[in-house]
Symmetry: D2
Subunit: 462 residues, 4 copies
């Protein structure tokens, strides 16, 4: 039994019904739907539309429907075209015709908009927890490697030495932006409870929408009923936040995949977080990382898809908006599935400091050589050219930059002192970058990161 | 039991396993997988790796596994990480250790590449059938309205009169491009059977890959094993073809949605193909059309997502490629679900010729007035300006363009003859556009369309 | 002269140089670049790297370069591969070798990251102004039409009557979300000044990065130098904000384009904001609206493109990041070009209340009929069915819903009273939706909108 | 002077004009536009609309306009809103009022559709040449390294040895698919010349559209005038083809970027194709490769953007379609700029065979060990497990797989013969993959590739 048959003389075509029906994916809104209906029953009661007894009966019935969902005993019926219909149909079976009063002054348009926002706010909290948990294991790894030197790359070419902790922390801070972005967004979402907007024009019953909004955890009702039923900005914003999380995971994954290749050998994955080959017996593949990288693409696709669906729609609810849910659900499922393995993998992988140090080349200290000349009064631009010539000289001689003698260097600049050899110390070079945020103040940076995380109260997994 | 445990000392983490496992979506490759394995068993037998008896035993076992899938009795086991593992595991249960010979010289990399192509070729044929079936009902509608005049729009403003058949046919020809694009693409896909490429380096057994390819309906084997296992160009190309089909459906849907609004009232939808409102008893909503428009967005999102997943991958198989299947499957499911309702809706909707004619305004014949001046020797550019002035004069007078008298028009140009009134005949204006492809040769155009479709042998539904 | 030639023996290939060079588009960062360099010179001076005299000389030189850009007299030289090189090259020409000290402890990596953020913050303010200005003209239109009744649509089918003001306001509130989202985002961007991050590892000079950040209008420096030079989250976030603005414009445009079609005739565009046809003299096309709708696609494409560019990059600066600027610049240019015409068009268009009212159909009051039954004790679900039957009865009789007599209605429900005719009053139906955000409290809603806008101090254009 | 002012009383708003005007980007259609106009003048003449003298005068005038464009002397005038207006305006200046006859029976809608197709067909040929030229240098590199062994990777982990030629060729075959796809697409584009479709309804003059089409290099005219002016399928298809080319370039770039990192050291870039750092004197960065990878994102963004622009448009020309050109132009410019540096870089880079061979590990022959057991009758599945145990034993012993003695291996399987040591030969392992497309038949594969390329007659650059 649909909720709308009255004016129709003929049954809906089966293929139309199958296309239209959304219960196969929107069933997961059941909790939000029932929570919203409980609040609506309250509001109707306060508006004098329901008697307290009716309200109580409806509320008790709704809780029974919720219990059936939670226990897995809820049975869908043929006409259950969506979760709203399914819940109301079951409610009527349980409590009789009074169930028919629940939808007074309400439409599925404001109902689904509310359900989706409630679901979104709950998913947002879970995603924040995932992100913080990954942050926590990154910090644990950073803590272990405050003094491990490694090459820092730009253009994926050796650039300057950094600490492994600095590199780990470089993957931490983007996550803090992700969390703060999600927190800011959720604050905004809470300021626009759509319930009470009706189908498009508002509700003719004297509903106190501010109280209703607060009852559901919102801070305020939406301002315009026509906008409220068609607003999916929050869905797009959430998908954007998730896409950027995906991008950050993909960059972490790319580093780790490449560093796990034996030509680098910077990391060793725990066997529990790698997989083998059906053909090649020796393989240990970093599948979770490849999937993290690959699945970031899916998130971007979902974001694009939703924006496209919204583009060019006329005002008010259009059925195109039904396309909001599946990308959202899939995006959240994707991250729900992705974070635990990635967290476990990062938590258990082992860095190989000796391979990292072996990849350092004295030429990575050419900037320090230039800075040495600067301290002796050479303008940086000229010092840069001198250091470049030194690198070239070393290459021509077939030696490393640090193997050039002070005499060799003196042929390049008369500003070469006896102390020039002191330049060629990777650890000292790192320590010199002691300004805020530099590789030489990693310990302080780690403390800042830990303080940030402590405010979110998320513990790293063991 | 995975296919690759030998070198591992520890079991895979559960969350990793769940993330990695693809059986929940790749089970639908079962038919392709078994077809591919049958061909591979043949090839191994011809190469002397399997005896004929072993080959026969494996073939019989594979057919039993296929029967279990078709009958719905196949039971997944805990270690079945993908369809390939599941089939081989079940085969071993059914026929014993000889099953272990099937994977000789093969990898899941070339196996899945082959499975996906076989599935794609089959999905491609089904999509072509859908598109042709929609084409057929468009032609049926066009046939009914060869003489129905309606406004043609540009910029969604009235431009010139056309026939309704011409408008219907305008939605037909894009579908022919879709079909031909899919046919061309499939020809190319058939020229690169990846089976026999091994994991990346080819197979060390003397497999006749040309014969193997032909056995599977391909025309040739792939040229490079490393490329073959990582090539997903066909997946992207298929998603592009489907996206463009989606765009064409969305444009048809947009026209129909707007024309179904009572301010136009050009069409009436059959009740079986529209739905109602839970709040507003009078509503009849064109949901299938809105979903056609909305779901075109999802297809674009999937296309973008897959291209993103492929971008920047290193050579050879990477697990990111597992992200190819879900967007493909969902895109095909989407169109499988969308076409029947859209076809039914178009087939049953009723055009309202009197509303279409009522929307014609003589100002839409201003170009014909300009052309009239051209026939009397005025250069078109000047004639255009004269006709513009006539429109302005009519507006100033508050009359329609055709209500201007010959005298009025004579004040605008001395090239106005007594026969100028003959310009203002919508049907004659249509008939004048008799050059190939114009609104005045709709009947011939329809015949061309019917001939095109006849070559595809798809009948329209009743 | 590039800034980096020292180690190279051979000149760069011309095609590489052309591909690499970014001055053709990044010249527009000149103001940000010079502002950043002035702050850096200060910071170097405070750190004792520059003497006050050197700092002053550099500062004076930089201001001269800025003046050349502003006056249009700056002349690019062959080696000017980007804006940073161009500025430093010109500075050296103007002030001699001391210019070579400016780049001490700095890299183009932290420099360009800073420049881009400064530009972004400035563009963000301009976009906010555009959006508010559009909001202001929407409110002006709403103010004029507080009592104009029109059909509200869902599924683009007539649903319930609303006021034209309510419909206008429905396009206003999304803009407030856009503005608030941009404001929140900019607050976050200001908390991470990258200057002083060097190429990746930080700066070895004792720079006070907090003071430096504040000098540039930031609130704090970035936490990690490796992250800071590769962070483009703000660019993606800005493009997302712009994409959603584009979506909102596209929805406004869609409404207006359709309403401007004569079958609706709800609005008349001012001639200054429509254009004609080279062939059809009578045409008046809503080009700015079509471009608003069309250009929203470009914004979505740019967002997708940037996220794709970021996906899967290894840590640290990679040249791929150069792809951040063109989509950003084009997106901002697009909106800079789009808003003024759209604002002008909305400001000058004329609503046609009589056409809007003529499009109202009594069947749009079917929900009110159901609500009437509810007030007489019928549960809503049953009342909905009764109203549906009434609509059907009216259709069968060929009359409008309001033309059914009380007797006719009484055959449908014995809850029909003599006062049922009072249901069929469009204005009363609107007024009944008096709950917060409903069509019946448009005046209060308008006041809230005006208050919101007043806080942004943007006046509508005349 | 616009072409359409007649009916308008007021001038267009300046901001609207700026938004609308497309001459700043569509000027590059000048050649196509003039070519199309020449053909149209012929067609008008054959239809009796122009006298031969008029036709000749117009043709001569058009050639003069073309010459002005080619010589760079064409001067735009204030009213030149697009290339079509500009050309017709200039033509009128040059030849007087007869120029006003050229637009007879034509609209800018069919004109621009034709221009774009002509431009597209020409761009398509250039892109094919670029792709073939890259293919040629890949083959030249492959030719040099038929016997160079290197690790083949899957999951970016060492998998099996291959030849460097096989790896190079793995980047060649995708290019052949790109070329063939472009060729197939262009064949289809040529079958639908839109000229003669008018604004939407066709042309009222007796134009022989088949002859007109052939005059312009098409094979047939378009079938439906309404579709023809709004069809941008070819634009989307071209962008898809370019996106996939971009993806292929990005994968080549990713391999080369990683292989150029000293931890791999597989390749050395020529200095002419790498760049330095403003801060770090020793840097040699693979910028062209990073840009190839990064710019593939832009192409995907443009494809998505165009599909979004087309989605949901009503029938006929809408101004949104103006958004087709900029992404197309930019995509083609991007590849025009990208290919020469990438081709030069690939052509000049030097492979380092000794580093490639040093990265081979005997564990990569574990599959060959399994195959060895297979030759001795062990089913592959069991042989795979045995080889896995051998790898594990070697790891436990701290030796490489090839350092296990025959006795060690005998403890794993009694199928170990004295000849087992022969398995551990990288070159022999490669040679064993001799089936079609395998690493062991690279020479034959190269011959096939050369034959493919020879049919395209593109020579590699020196």
């Amino acid at each position: 039994m649909t909720l709308w048959g009255g004016v129709f003389s003929q049954p809906t075509d089966d293929a139309v019904r199958r296309l239209n029906d959304s219960l196969r994916f929107d069933w997961r809104l059941y909790d939000a739907d029932i929570t919203g209906s409980l609040a609506w029953a309250d509001a109707l009661s306060q508006a004098g539309v329901l008697t307290p007894a009716e309200r109580d009966r409806i509320a008790a019935g709704l809780e029974r429907v919720r219990a059936e969902f939670m226990e897995g005993t809820f049975a869908a019926a043929p006409g259950d075209e969506d979760i709203h219909t399914a819940v109301e149909r079951r409610l009527a079976e349980l409590i009789g015709p009074v169930a028919g009063k629940l939808h007074t002054g309400r439409s599925r348009n404001d109902q689904v908009a509310t359900d989706l926002l409630l679901w979104l706010l709950s998913a947002q909290r879970r995603i924040v927890d995932h992100v913080c948990a990954l942050g926590a294991v990154l910090l644990r790894q950073a803590e272990r490697h405050l003094d491990t030197a490694m090459p820092g790359y730009t253009h994926f070419q050796p650039a300057q030495p950094i600490t492994a902790a600095h590199w780990w922390l470089n993957h931490f801070w983007p996550l803090t932006r992700d969390v703060e972005r999600l927190e800011r967004a959720a604050d905004a979402w809470r300021a626009r409870c759509p319930l009470g907007s009706g189908a498009l024009a508002g509700t003719p019953y004297p509903i106190d929408r501010q109280a209703l909004a607060e009852r559901l955890g919102f801070t305020a009702p939406s301002h315009n009923s026509l906008d409220a039923v068609a607003d999916r900005d929050h869905a797009a914003e959430f998908l954007f936040c998730l896409s950027l999380i995906g991008v950050h995971l993909s960059r972490l994954a790319e580093d780790l995949i490449v560093f796990a290749n034996p030509s680098f050998g910077f990391i060793r994955l725990d066997e529990r977080y790698s997989t083998g080959s059906s053909l090649m017996p020796q393989k240990r593949n970093p599948d979770p990382l490849e999937l993290a990288r690959g699945k970031s693409a899916r998130l971007i696709g979902h974001l694009a898809g939703l924006l496209v669906a919204l583009k060019g729609l006329p005002s008010g609810y259009n059925k195109d908006l039904q396309e909001d849910k599946e990308p959202l659900f899939d995006a959240v499922d994707t991250l729900d599935a992705l974070f635990p393995p990635v967290i476990g993998l990062v938590n258990t992988l082992v860095l190989v400091p000796e391979r990292m140090r072996a990849a350092l080349d004295p030429a990575m200290l050419a900037t320090d050589l230039a800075d040495y000349f600067v301290t002796r009064g050479v303008p940086f631009r000229e010092a840069h050219a001198l250091a470049g010539r030194a690198v070239k000289l070393a290459e021509a001689r077939g030696v490393s930059l640090s193997e050039l003698s002070a005499e060799d260097l003196a042929t390049i600049s008369d500003q070469t002192g006896d102390d020039v050899a002191r330049v060629f110390d990777f650890d000292a070079a790192i320590a010199r970058r002691a300004a805020f945020g530099g590789a030489g103040e990693t310990e302080a940076q780690l403390a800042r990161a830990q303080a940030w995380l402590a405010r979110r109260r998320i513990a790293a997994p063991e």
